[in-house]
């Protein structure tokens, strides 16, 4: 208790210049928006190496659209993570929705809008069940969602029989490729627009409303938040429900894009989604998980991977790049934060010792009899 106080006062002077003064420098600092700088670096690098392919509009149209599913999956992880709930079932949730929306249309012959609504409702139900397991049975979210992931994978295999579900409705198939043309090859696809809308809504809720404030509070300190009147368990369930709906939305759009219920596509999203969320937490908000950091991270990672692929790198490069980027970014921000703190601790703890050794040295210099003990011993005995 007391040591932390000493450190707190030690850091106080060096830290926290008011936002107005060094505001812009802080906002534009590498620490705050490292992903954007990395993006610029990657962009310049690949523009020089492979200008033809990398700078072609087609590449960018494809990139924007391709990554919308990953962004949605990452946002589905982000919502519960804000209240300190891990969702490791995200890949299985997306995959389950991919198959479900296809099976409902093909096997049960339901009209596609109804199938979509049912798939989203099922996503909400999955979130509710996970939430109840975590809050009522008091099972750690890590384990609970790992179990849910296993169950959903089982359901997914059961429904699909490990085969693609083909023959989706025409309207459903066209949805993912449709959009608002911007002239030329540019087009804002519906999935991209939906993703932006979801991100905007989540940003508003998390950053601008009391609900979002309570979510952050519960995420940082559940006990403290509860004593301030935050209904933590309710928030945890609610965030998993919202996350489940977003995950199901991602699965539905994915099924529409690939025009099939493919049982293999969903589970692959777990790692990129988690990577983007953690990388995103190092951006903009200094350690808080946040929407735009997540969105930007997905695209920065995707651009890097795309550039390397254009250079001729093969399948392994995506995972390798994501891994390096995540570890690098998180280590960097952690190091920056702890180095300041470590320095403060060192100052607070070594000050007395240094003063004493200096004093001892001065005395030794002034008074030869108080020289080091080894030298004195003989004549004392």
């Amino acid at each position: 208790m007391k040591t932390t106080e000493a450190i707190a006062t030690a850091t106080e002077d060096t830290k926290a210049t008011p936002r107005s003064a060094g505001g812009w420098r802080r906002i534009l600092s590498f620490r705050n928006i490292s992903a954007l700088y990395i993006f610029v670096a990657i962009f310049v690098l690949f523009s020089i190496i492979t200008p033809k392919t990398f700078l072609s509009p087609g590449t960018w149209v494809l990139l924007l659209d391709e990554q919308t599913i990953t962004v949605l999956a990452a946002l589905a992880v982000l919502i519960p993570l804000n209240v300190a709930v891990f969702n490791l079932a995200i890949g299985a949730e997306v995959g389950f929705a991919v198959i479900l929306v296809a099976v409902l249309q093909v096997n049960l012959q339901l009209p596609w809008p109804l199938a979509v609504v049912l798939a989203l409702a099922c996503g909400a139900l999955i979130g509710t069940i996970s939430g109840l397991i975590i809050t009522r049975l008091k099972i750690d979210s890590f384990i609970a969602t790992l179990g849910m992931s296993s169950l959903l994978t089982a359901g997914l295999v059961l429904m699909s029989g490990q085969r693609q579900v083909l023959g989706l409705g025409a309207g459903f198939r066209d949805f993912a490729t449709g959009g608002i043309p911007l002239g030329g090859t540019f087009k804002l696809t519906w999935p991209f627009i939906i993703m932006i809308v979801v991100a905007l809504v989540l940003w508003y809720v998390m950053e601008k409303t009391p609900l979002g404030r309570r979510m952050y509070a519960a995420g940082f300190n559940p006990d403290g938040a509860r004593l301030s009147g935050v209904k933590v368990a309710r928030l945890q369930i609610g965030s998993l429900v919202a996350g489940g709906i977003v995950a199901a939305l991602a699965g539905t759009l994915l099924a529409s894009r690939i025009n099939a219920g493919d049982p293999t596509v969903g589970p692959n999203l777990l790692l990129p989604a988690l990577t983007a969320v953690f990388l995103g937490s190092t951006q903009f908000k200094g350690g808080r998980f946040n929407v735009w950091g997540t969105v930007v991270s997905v695209y920065v990672l995707a651009v890097g991977v795309k550039g390397l692929q254009l250079l001729g790198a093969t399948d392994w490069v995506e995972n390798a790049f994501n891994g390096v980027a995540l570890l690098g970014a998180v280590a960097l921000s952690r190091w920056e934060r702890t180095s300041k703190r470590t320095a403060a601790i060192k100052r607070a703890t070594t000050f007395g010792r240094r003063a004493r050794t200096e004093l001892a040295e001065q005395q030794a210099a002034a008074d030869p009899t108080s020289a080091p003990a080894e030298l004195r011993k003989p004549d004392q005995e």
Partner: protein, 511 residues
Amino acid sequence: MAAANRPLLRITGMIKEFPGLRALDDVSLEVHSGEIVAVVGHNGSGKSTLVKILAGVYAKDAGEVEYPSSTAEEETGLHIIHQDLGLAMELNAIENLGIPKYQGLRESLAPAPVKREKAKATELISRFGEPFDVTVPVGSLAPAQRSIIGIARALDGWKHPRNILILDEPTEALHASEVRILFEAIKRLAADGAGIIFISHRLDEVLELADRIVVLRDGKKVADEDREHVDHERLVEFVTGVKAGEAETGRTDRTHGEVVLDIAGLWGEVLDGVDLTVHAGEVVGVAGVLGSGREALPAMVFGSELAAADEFNVAGAAYPKRDPAESIRRGMAFVPGDRGKYGAIRDFTARENITLPAMQNVTNAIFGVDARKEKAVATELVAKYDVRPPRPEQIFKQFSGGNQQKIVFAKWLRNDPTVLLLEEPTQGVDIGAKQALYEAIDAAAAQGAAVVVCSSEAKELVRLCDRVLVLRNGVVAAELSGEELTETRLVLEGYGLADGDDAVDGSEGQQ
């Protein structure tokens, strides 16, 4: 041996400062071989700082620690038994005693000599009386037996008996009968020539065990007396610094309104049927030693800890099923003892912390937080409660302890609570902030809040309260107000040392 009449340990002029607080102020202390020295004092008197300096947790600012009788052949060791013994509850006594000290690959992988280990463990603990089963997990042993393992572990490395052993609040978790077992063990050690420092705030135990008593108050040594020169009345005088008869008494200047908080038969984990009635504008204190139920009461009233009550009324309305959110809605506020863990969100700014419990009045038409309104509220409150530095955008954990507590106060007092529950409101807070917090509590009462203050500091309760309930073993042992409400009475009642108490008479008979 020349070393015999020199002390084992000599501390001279020890000083330790924390920001805004001198925790140890020129404290000197000597411990001789065969002597049991008790160090006594309130919370915050400097006892634990002293132990932590000897343990090397803190660096001292000035002063010397010497071992005058330490020689090359017979080096004086210093061992500390902390209140939390640091035993691994799932492991057995053999393992906790650290007997399997096998080094190198060959020894580590060879089958363990189970019989030899067991014999050695039994031998170690049988020095302190009846041996017990060393092969069961220590979690299933009695607390006193665990303490003995803790002591035996410290003693395992002793090559000679003349070492220092420091026991920091060793009896906290023990029953009276077990305390006796522990005391026997300690006396045996002293008889063998060890120097014992016994840290405690249980005055009756100190009087029973110690040869010499050192009293600390506000970081200063105020007494260093042989046991026979001290009786418990004098000891209380030393501890509180108030002479019996000329003490400050409780407050009588406040005007009370209607009954706001009315609880009958509150019981829970440590409470065993407590009645509590508080009027508007009244400040009621709750005193008692650790484990008396004092520390659990406010959380149970607020609803963050499970508790049942025969009757529970807030502002005239029954409130049978309690939870924090509903309590806040009904106008209750709770400042918990551990502000980092429960009182605030450490990673939030001061502004975010201040508005968290009641955000409905800083919102705009589109369900969002009105940033300008929120900032104005935070800025005003930070200034009102004199938070330093007055920056609402600073992260909570970067404030000093006293200013953190001011922020927690601001957060709750913003809503003009009808019931204000305070747990250790000035713990770890410097003098200046303490005064400011007292004034804030006075102001809240003046505005008509019903205030409950749970504190381990008798002085604080006398300063703040109209009336104090003293808890002992989960029930109200005494209720003091007006003339009767003095520091001395609070301490006496808290320890159960009031007139005619058996424990003390018994121990005095033994001496």
